[in-house]
């Protein structure tokens, strides 16, 4: 195979048709309150871990819903579980359970290449 000094660039596009929903569905089944996230970002704003490192709780929801399992795994490790997010969440989402569920289930669904 020839090397021309450049190559096809991987798309940044989220290809929804490639999305593996197993992890998401498992989490939503165990913690339905997570369905009602508004992406308001209150959780991220109050986050104790977010004070110390770039960590966006709100984004977890999106990573999960877009099947970005690899990113999700590295993100979720940062949570200190202090629980402030639950106190500010306008939709009363049980976020600590979501985190624990993801932490546990992600071991099952992590893509092998990660």
């Amino acid at each position: 195979m020839k090397n021309f000094g450049y190559t096809v660039i991987k798309q940044r596009t989220i290809d929804y048709d490639q999305f593996d929903g197993r992890l998401l569905n498992e989490v939503l089944e165990m913690e339905p309150s997570f369905k009602v996230c508004l992406s308001c970002g209150g959780c991220t704003a109050t986050c104790s871990a977010g004070d110390l490192v770039s960590f966006n709780v709100r984004r977890m929801n999106l990573l999960l819903r877009r099947g970005q399992t690899v990113e999700l795994e590295s993100e979720i490790k940062k949570c200190m579980l202090c629980g402030k997010c639950m106190l500010v969440c306008p939709r009363g989402i049980n976020l600590r359970n979501v985190i624990m569920l993801v932490k546990k289930s992600i071991l099952k669904y992590k893509p092998v290449n990660s």
């Binding site: 165990m30 309150s33 109050t46 104790s48 871990a49 004070d51 110390l52 490192v53 490790k77 940062k78 949570c79 200190m80 579980l81 202090c82 629980g83 402030k84 106190l87 500010v88 009363g92 049980n94 600590r96 359970n97 624990m100 932490k103 546990k104 992600i106 071991l107």
Partner: protein
């Protein structure tokens, strides 16, 4: 010598089986204990600790004093069965030894004595012993009767609910219920034939003889009696009645100072098997206020035994510890649950590498550290009050978590993430020690507990602000001013049952307002429902638990609800019926009253009540 009759076989085999089984299983469990725990046994076994253990076994396992004090009828039932049966065995053997004039009487000769000894007791002592055996049997039978009724209607025993049964339990239970009636019948029938009965069995025997062909009934009845005994012994390992023998072992080990560790080991297993499933823990559990009825300690221990415990049940508990003081066996229910949580989450502890990036401020040198806690940052009134009070008392301090500070680690621990928590603890610990402080004042009981128990801060006295403010007041560094307000104090779980701090907050509050004593306080205090230890409960369920607690508080018509925990405050504050304030806020409010109002012109309670809502 002539062979004993074959009906003793079920009993004898059963007895052999259960004895071997117990020796082996207990042997395994003890072997699983840590070195330290084993040495504890060696060092204490021949001390008075063993005697204390025996006394406790006598008073709890036999007399069931705790249950008595909580519920006499239930207490009598357990006592008549346990203590009565115990005496039957002991007195029975004495009776046998006395009859055969030897100390080596095989068990079956004693248990089935009325079958072997066909002539009535001749000696006085024999007569007395026989009579007392009859009475004892009557005593036990009365307990069995109650047990029947309890099954039919547990409410009659003032219990809200009782536990459900599995097959093993069913067999053992029915066997247990048969043993004593059968023994009574067998002895009565023999009495009807041989006239060897005593005050109760003889008349019953005569009556039966007049009605039934007792000759042909005798052997079957003794068979049935022995059979039911054998059956009970065989069913024991798979039934809740394992608690009878295991509890005894547990009490000895506990007296030797062995506790449930942060891991599953021999002792945690022994404790699990020591649960009699009496279901008393169900009564005090607030989860039932949210109609959650299958996650209580008794069920969790059962699921652990049956190896079918799910995360949904394991983590659906506030760990408020309310059930613990009630447990007649004194099991470490919270710690037992923790061992399972640790096990269930051990594969995915976080490492928090980012803590090393040094984003946090360098510790200044200071005498006093103030640590508000994550939650407290969502109740700024508490922080403000503490700052003001520090100023009033002229204390130089370092506000450690004013911003950019790692969590204390307790919330992680509560869901079993001990390894992860250690990372946070290590990080915070270094910062605290670096400051050279002598005192660490904490506003959040959740943090307070972990600082106290897991941080190993030698030379630093960790105080919750309620303790600290009390100290300041005692040192006359805080003005005192009693406000005409009636206050109910809500014990936060982690501060009260969690750390045994009940009095300091009350002593402090008494100086600034009028504290009303209520039914469910101190050890029996309610949980607010906000506990971080429960990651499964839904918000509406938390609210139900909170409202139930509030209902009781409101029934005392207080002017405000006082608490000493930001999370409790936040939880209660969501209800509009009662103003909620932290102790620190109340103290600061009083001081402000004193400083602002001219002498003799203190605000009226009405004015103050208005301010409470402000």
């Amino acid at each position: 010598m002539e062979f004993p009759p074959s009906f003793i076989l079920p009993f004898t085999i059963g007895l052999l089986f259960i004895s071997c089984f117990l020796v082996i299983i207990v042997g395994i469990w003890i072997s699983q204990l840590s070195k330290i725990d084993k040495s504890r046994i060696r060092n204490n076994i021949f001390t008075r600790k063993s005697l204390q253990a025996i006394r406790e076994i006598f008073s709890e396992s036999l007399l069931h004093r705790k249950i008595f004090s909580k519920n006499p009828v239930l207490g009598y039932m357990h006592m008549s069965l346990a203590f009565g049966w115990f005496l039957l065995i002991v007195v029975g053997h004495i009776d046998a030894c006395n009859h055969y004039q030897t100390l080596s009487v095989p068990a079956y000769k004693a248990i089935f004595m009325r079958y072997f000894v066909t002539e009535p007791a001749s000696t006085l002592s024999g007569k007395i012993l026989a009579a007392s055996m009859d009475l004892l049997l009557l005593f036990v039978l009365s307990g069995v009767m109650l047990a029947y009724f309890k099954r039919l209607n547990s409410r009659m025993f003032g219990m809200k609910k009782t536990t459900r049964l599995k097959t093993g339990d069913r067999i053992a239970l029915s066997a247990l219920w048969l043993i004593f009636p059968l023994r009574f019948l067998a002895e009565s029938v023999s009495a009807g034939i041989h006239h060897n009965g005593s005050i109760i069995s003889q008349p019953t025997g005569n009556m039966l003889a007049s009605l039934l062909p007792v000759q042909s009934l005798e052997m079957p009845l003794w068979w049935a009696y022995s059979g039911s005994l054998g059956l009970f012994f065989f069913a024991l390992p798979v039934s809740r009645y394992m608690h009878i023998p295991v509890e005894v072992v547990m009490i000895f080990l506990r007296k030797y100072g062995i506790k449930v560790q942060k891991r599953i080991d021999g002792f945690s297993r022994i404790q699990v098997y020591s649960c009699s499933r009496c279901g008393i823990c169900l009564d005090s559990c607030q989860m039932t206020h949210a109609a959650i009825k299958d996650t209580q300690s008794v069920y969790v221990l059962k699921h652990i035994r049956n190896k079918n415990l799910t995360d949904e049940k394991l983590f659906n508990c506030l760990l408020c510890g309310r059930c613990q003081p009630d447990c007649p066996v004194g099991l470490e229910l919270n710690n037992l649950r923790m061992t399972q949580r640790i096990e269930s989450t051990k594969e995915y502890n976080s490492s928090y590498e980012y803590l090393k990036d040094g984003k946090v401020a360098v510790s200044p040198q200071t005498e006093v550290i103030y640590f508000a806690g994550c939650m407290t940052h969502l109740t700024p009134a508490i922080i403000k009050s503490m700052k003001e009070i520090f100023a009033v008392a002229d204390v130089k301090y370092w506000f450690m978590d004013e911003d950019k500070t790692a969590c204390c680690g307790r919330p992680l621990m509560q869901v079993g993430q001990f390894e992860a928590a250690k990372k946070l603890i290590e990080h915070n610990r270094e910062r605290i020690l670096a400051s050279g402080a002598k005192k660490l004042v904490v506003s959040c009981p959740i943090c307070y507990k972990v600082f106290n128990e897991d941080y190993a801060l030698s030379g630093i006295s960790v105080q919750h602000h309620s303790e600290y403010l009390l100290e300041l007041m005692a040192d006359k560094r805080l003005p005192v001013h009693k406000m005409p307000l009636r206050v109910v104090y809500h014990d936060p779980c982690e501060l009260g049952r969690g750390s045994g701090i009940y009095h300091q907050p009350r002593l402090l509050l008494d100086e600034y307002a009028e504290v009303i004593s209520i039914k469910n306080e101190k050890e029996a205090a309610f949980c607010c429902g906000g506990s971080l230890a429960n990651i499964k409960i839904q918000m509406n369920e938390r609210n139900q638990i909170r409202d139930k607690a509030l209902d009781e508080y409101l029934s005392y018509q207080p002017d405000m609800l006082a608490t000493a925990c930001p999370l409790c405050k936040k939880t209660f504050a969501k209800s509009r019926d009662l103003p909620v304030h932290d102790i620190a806020e109340i103290v600061y409010m009083a001081i402000r009253q004193k400083n602002t109002s001219l002498p003799g012109q203190n605000k009226t309670s009405k004015e103050l009540k208005m301010e409470l809502w402000g």
